[in-house]
């Protein structure tokens, strides 16, 4: 079977960190997939996404989530970051959060970019559970830089971030 996922880079945090960044991403793939297994130093954090270091209010988010008792949906527009996950953090299982992100057609220079984020977290806490997020970045630039940070505090040492390139047939 041909290889479809090409590993581009992996970051395993050796110490707590405020930001994780993948930079100088090649535009030679069709799509990107990012896989994260992580925790945060503080509880109940939002994991945030920025693309190409854009700090403008160019992101919109639509989210559906379930915390084990309640299902809900929320939306925000013209905000300064993408919401990767609403509820991650440290609890009984420090690395209970997992997220996959898909950046489709990330290197085109014609359209705005849409990202799908899928997160699971079974740790303790009311905001945690399962969620699916759609992030719109209103920029026609090719994505060449992806960074993550928390609402406050650091991402936990030992968290792993792996970026893959996916090529079409």
């Amino acid at each position: 079977m041909p290889s479809t996922y090409t590993p581009i880079a992996t970051t395993t945090l050796g110490s707590n960190a405020a930001t994780v960044t993948f930079s100088s991403i090649s535009g030679t793939y069709t799509d990107l997939r990012l896989v994260i297994n992580y925790g945060t130093v503080s509880a109940d954090q939002v994991l945030k996404l920025k693309l190409n270091s854009d700090t403008g209010t160019n992101y919109s988010n639509t989210i559906v989530y379930g915390n084990g008792s309640t299902a809900g949906s929320s939306r925000s527009s013209s905000v300064a970051f993408g919401y990767v996950s609403l509820g991650v953090g440290t609890g009984t299982n420090a690395y209970a959060s997992i997220t996959t992100l898909d950046f489709m057609n990330y290197s085109n220079s014609t359209t705005y970019k849409t990202t799908l984020a899928r997160t699971g977290n079974t740790d303790t806490g009311t905001t945690k559970g399962t969620e699916a997020n759609v992030i719109l970045w209103r920029s026609t630039s090719a994505i060449n830089d992806i960074s993550f940070s928390c609402t406050s505090g650091n991402i936990l040492a030992g968290s792993t971030f792996t970026l893959y390139g996916v090529k079409s047939a």
């Binding site: 379930g66 084990g68 699971g120 399962t130 030992g158 792993t160």
Partner: protein, 125 residues
């Protein structure tokens, strides 16, 4: 997957031991709900024998860092569409509170003929 019984759930084990907990959001086409389980069953993810003939659920489980030394989190996406009045889509977060590397995955149900299962490995750099 499809069950030869009316049971639309399955049990999931790693290394011969059941998963410990899961939380999910479920949509049935008209409403969404969320629930928690503290056992090794995932519910509403298999087309039961009562579903439209020849329809099979689609089910994907993603286990990142499966060989790491922390407890193992995983996610499940499933659909049981069968062109009838009741079908479910589920997004599930699960955890197996064991730090061992996963070397065995067991999915149990009275599985019907023609159910298929494929395991892929994905390497990092």
């Amino acid at each position: 997957m499809r069950s030869s019984t009316t049971d639309s759930s399955l049990s999931l084990q790693f290394n011969g031991t059941g998963i410990n907990a899961s939380r999910k959001i479920e949509g049935d086409g008209s409403a969404a709900s969320s629930g928690t389980r503290s056992d090794f069953y995932l519910t509403g993810v298999v087309n039961p024998s009562s579903a439209t003939a020849s329809t099979f659920s689609s089910f994907e489980i993603y286990i990142p860092n499966y060989a790491g030394s922390t407890n193992k989190s995983f996610s499940v996406d499933s659909v049981t569409e069968n062109n009838a009045t009741t079908a479910y889509t589920n997004l599930i977060a699960g955890i197996w509170n064991t730090t061992s590397a996963i070397n065995s995955i067991t999915i149990s149900n009275a599985l019907a003929q023609y159910s298929t299962f494929t395991l892929y490995g994905i390497k990092n750099s």
